[in-house]
Amino acid sequence: MAKILMKGNEAIALAAIKGGIDAFYGYPITPQNEIPEYLSKHMLDLGRVFLQSESEVSAINMVYGAAGAGKRVMTSSSSPGIALKQEGISYIAAAELPCVIVSVMRGGPGLGSIQPSQGDYYQATRGGGNGDYQLIVYAPESIQETIDIMKDSFNIADYYRNPVLVLVDGLIGQMMESVDFDKPVKERELPEKDWATNGTINHPGRRNVANSLHLDPYGLEQHNIHLQKKYNLIKENETAFELVNMKDAEYVIVAYGTMARICRSAIEMLNEKGIKVGMIRPITLWPFPEAAFDEISEKAKGILCCELSMGQMIDDVLIANNGRHKVGFFGRSGGVLPDPEEIVDAIVNFKDKVVK
């Protein structure tokens, strides 16, 4: 297939189909509505399952059911809707079931706005649900990268028996770009779903149960230790990031998603001014690419964390930096997108005032 011009949300939906989705359950919320709208037509045409639920709470529990039954299942929502799904997400992670969740972030807190934001970094990486669990969180910066991740996401979820969260913002959801759906997906040898609750007729002599209840404290602790081992494996295997212009960079921006795109333009402008600026762009937010910070030159003068929030990823930047370099922050929130010039000014300001 040649390149085609496509809107982000519709591309997410088509990429999910290409990635082998069996069922979609979701509830309307702006700015992600084109995902369920697209799937409502095409899933039924393909003989697959699409169902609009009565709430986000219900949708994520439908996902829990179908994931437990061994099917490739997905839901999508936006910030307040993802908040409602957190209970179910915790259960799904606890029961070690694979699924894909797409969050198209909008401004918050509360009902907030419907404009692009990155105010849900904590929600995605710390979880709003209860207990010690992690999602595998991807934060693509373009529609093409979103498509490539979406196509692989069901394989990753199945491989680790863990929910995958694809975290974009309203800008990526709503804009159009020229994209290619034919890029090959990484080959993974996927384990058989011999745990699926599809009736003992399919696995005689063994009852399959999807459950997150462990009343024995030692039993639950063992389950948590088992989960941590899996999370460590995910850290080893799946951490992804991009380094931009890092060789000899005096200043390093850390940014993801839409903010990283804006920073790319700012970096070019800064380099023209003779200020050497590079960028660490996390592609996975969890696991956070701590190793990327070893690539920062010892001579670098500082790190500027740039987010479309009041400062959330900066916690992970500070942990990864571990006191090596000075760290500053630039953020806009509420749905406000900065011009590249604002990033340029932020670096100049950081250079003049914070780093002496």
Binding site: D22, A23, Y25, V49, L51, S53, E54, S55, V57, S58, A59, N61, M62, V63, Y64, G65, A66, A67, G68, A69, K71, V73, E87, G88, Y91, A95, T197, N198, G199, T200, I201, P204, R207, N208, V209, A210, N211, S212, L213
Partner: protein, 249 residues
């Protein structure tokens, strides 16, 4: 020697965790027998809810999923839509179904999801220690209505079967009781019919079972059975609330 009675193959060997005089054990048996008699046990997926029946995933001898509080019908929907030829049922108490999970239950019914809901109504929260339920009776003393349920303050006991009878997607709905052998036999018929309708892909089926909680009601098991007849059934009258009719009797 002829075996006259044995435990249903629809139940595992795990000892039940229910209190003496609680009717969950009877209802489990009726569900298990129905699944075996209809030859659908190996296709069945049970959804355990939150409350005393949270461990039912250990008791029914089939595949199972344990749902978050109130979400059993959503989870059942998610499974049934991808496995339409399996048998999917939820097993929920009155706190789970009639309070926190009423939205999920109503919408599953309204979509006519081809699932079966076993709704166990004992007018109290058992697992958490006897708090007021949406189905608690007026005047009923609980740990959170210590002077008795007051209509002006707490509202009236919610009547689930009466409400659900108005929903078009419901194929079969009956309220039964298991407080004596006569009613027990009727309850078995109702449960089996509900599962048969599901097997025949007729739509949403629900059986409401009036149940006991002697420990949290603060009465002896025998008196609990009497209280079902004297106090609960007048508020929750038994009977068929909806039956779209069987063609393959």
């Amino acid at each position: 020697m002829r075996v006259k009675y044995e435990k249903s193959k629809g139940l595992t060997d795990t000892p039940l965790t229910y209190c003496p005089g609680c009717t969950h054990g009877i209802i489990h048996k009726l569900v298990a027998e129905s699944l075996v008699e209809l030859d659908i046990l190996d296709k069945a997926i049970a959804i355990a809810s939150v409350g005393c029946s949270v461990f039912s995933y250990q008791f029914f001898n089939c595949d199972a999923q344990q749902a978050p509080h109130g979400r059993a019908c959503a989870e059942a929907t998610g499974i049934k839509r991808v496995l339409p030829d399996n048998i999917v049922f939820t097993y929920q108490g009155d706190g789970d179904l009639a309070s926190i999970g009423i939205a999920e239950t109503i919408h599953a019914a309204n979509r006519g999801e081809n699932i079966t809901v076993i709704f166990v109504n004992n007018a109290i929260y058992g697992m958490t220690g006897g708090q007021m339920a949406p189905t608690s009776l007026i005047g009923q003393k609980t740990t959170t209505s210590q002077d008795g349920r007051d209509q002006a303050h707490h509202g009236n006991p919610i009547k689930i079967s009466e409400m659900f009878a108005t929903i078009d997607g419901v194929a079969y709905l009956e309220r039964v009781s298991v407080h004596d052998p006569k009613h027990y036999i009727k309850a078995k018929k109702a449960i089996k019919k509900a599962f048969r309708y599901q097997k025949e892909k007729r739509g949403f089926t629900m059986v409401e079972l009036i149940s006991t909680c002697p420990v949290n009601w603060g009465v002896k098991p025998v008196d609990a059975m009497k209280w079902v007849a004297s106090d609960m059934i007048p508020v929750f009258p038994l009977g068929v609330f909806k039956d779209k009719g069987a063609t393959n009797e």
